[in-house]
Symmetry: C2
Subunit: 352 residues, 2 copies
Amino acid sequence: RVLRIGLIPGDGIGKEVIPAGRRILEALPASLGLKFEFVDLKAGFETFEQTGAALPDKTVEVLKTECDGALFGAVSSPTTPRAGYSSPIVGLRKKLDLYANVRPVKSVGSKNPIDMVIVRENTEDLYVKEEKTYEGPNGKVAEAIKRISERASTRIATMAGEIALRRQKIRESGAPSIHKGPLVTITHKSNVLSQTDGLFRQASKAALAAEKFKSVAVEEQIVDSMVYKLFRQPEAYDVIVAPNLYGDILSDGAAALVGSLGLVPSANVGDGFAMGEPCHGSAPDIMGQNIANPIATLRSAAVMLEFLNEEKAAAMIYAAVDANLEEGKLLSPDLGGKATTEEVVADILKRL
Amino acid sequence: RVLRIGLIPGDGIGKEVIPAGRRILEALPASLGLKFEFVDLKAGFETFEQTGAALPDKTVEVLKTECDGALFGAVSSPTTPRAGYSSPIVGLRKKLDLYANVRPVKSVGSKNPIDMVIVRENTEDLYVKEEKTYEGPNGKVAEAIKRISERASTRIATMAGEIALRRQKIRESGAPSIHKGPLVTITHKSNVLSQTDGLFRQASKAALAAEKFKSVAVEEQIVDSMVYKLFRQPEAYDVIVAPNLYGDILSDGAAALVGSLGLVPSANVGDGFAMGEPCHGSAPDIMGQNIANPIATLRSAAVMLEFLNEEKAAAMIYAAVDANLEEGKLLSPDLGGKATTEEVVADILKRL
Ligand SMILES: CC(C)[C@H](C(=O)O)[C@@H](O)C(=O)O
Ligand SMILES: CC(C)[C@H](C(=O)O)[C@@H](O)C(=O)O
């Protein structure tokens, strides 16, 4: 099988970690029967400065018509509002209908093991970016629409249920796990937003009540209390499903628990397409120093492969990364180590 | 000075902790020259079941016309939507224009000391609760308005600046502190919500650029990264100012850092009125067992007093609570102790 992968480094350390993602795909053993072709694509603030568009049409077009998947690095946002600038990652998610943002957060060799997946709705909520500003009697007033649909909520909760079942299957095949059975936790704020988050809650519950999910335990948490519990008993969570913005916040919170945003991967998943994306940003403060942690990107390549049905290849990448972390000798500075990006990548490739 | 205080226990453990709040006010030494009168008022789910209104008009009326302040316990939300039910705390904040929700989060005797105040805008954002639902081509769609105004943003940022200055003054009077100087961190998500959160950001920055705040350092954090940093380096934060919903989420997150929601107080503050409110909920699982931690409410009474310009009385309550925690002998179960609500209250009153 040949997989054609778009590479979108973006800005800052995106340019240092995406090449690492490419290298790990190229280094996968031939025995898997997988070949990769790569297409370099542009997006980001630098692209905006050069071309006037942060997300060129061509990038979208090539991904849509030629690619099976993609790796997206990170982009810098302008520090003061710039006319015409709009976040390319938000644009890509919508234009390619990558409706699920899947963010596995797993500790390696920790006394307090964590192993959860945050499944974030990726197309609506406040990210529809429908805003307006007007003059009120006491100055400016701005409004934004938060939109929640039955369809998107059903779809994301179904995805969460399927991920819970898949994780359970891996456990049953003998993989060690801190979880006894599959659990999906629905996160919302329906005590205040009875219609929007109420709909998310209701549609999620209905989707997870389907016969195929009968082995999956389902519970719910109000988002503020979810953040609290995430920090007090993170080991309790298996799969968390959330509307877009809560998912964004929860996944950064979960990243803090495993020690560094530099470890946390994600994939933006649609029907038949997956785009890996490290959860960290473009980190201009450390760019160009060869000290960015490549692990979030390497793991993102694995999550992408999982959703392209290459679970075996994904498992090999996960295992190689875990082995590096378990040994703990070649770690990047965010993890308290002294290794360069290059050295971390080399160590992980060796373990493939 | 006579202060008239409305007591609104609400549901669940609200009924166990609000009496503790009353007792600590009554126990303040006569030398302060403070007298208290109390009015019992109703609100909550039980009130809704009995009267059809979760927030009776009379409660609002009495608070508005007769009271200087109030203590609010907690209310239970219906687990399935109930026609006519609407959160009374959200209603009170709006009806009394309690525009600031001030949530100090402080560790006592911890190796990793934390000492921050979250200043949450309390009247708008998604809490305007303007929602609608319609049938779309693929099922139901619900929308909510997120409203941010220049006026409310300016007002809350100004309050944050004033709190930062007040804290600095206390430091300069010789109180030990982990902070070198006053700092306000503005939290938003203007990289996605350029108009609404953009307005919050801009108005906050403008307010904090005022001459009187020239000694206050001002920085900003995108909300997802704020949650991350809150957990990675909580000691760095002094005053955090945020729109309503982010403030809600951040304060539960900060509560997790100090070990229990049962420790974290708040006050809902308007011009000339303050209502103390523990950050925890009604906790039906532990109600009636006399094990609820009263500290969040005792401290909320202190925050209320602070905003009624009774800083000396407030300081005495804070100190009595801190002394109980430092000794660590009479702690409620949420803190790993075995003491009853009653025993904790008695121990703290003794130290007043
Ligand atoms: C950069 C930003 C628009 C983005 C988001 O909010 O989704 C980022 O935080 C993420 O989580 O991918
Ligand atoms: C009960 C709920 C409506 C409330 C809120 O969201 O403000 C609570 O979480 C709080 O923080 O006081």
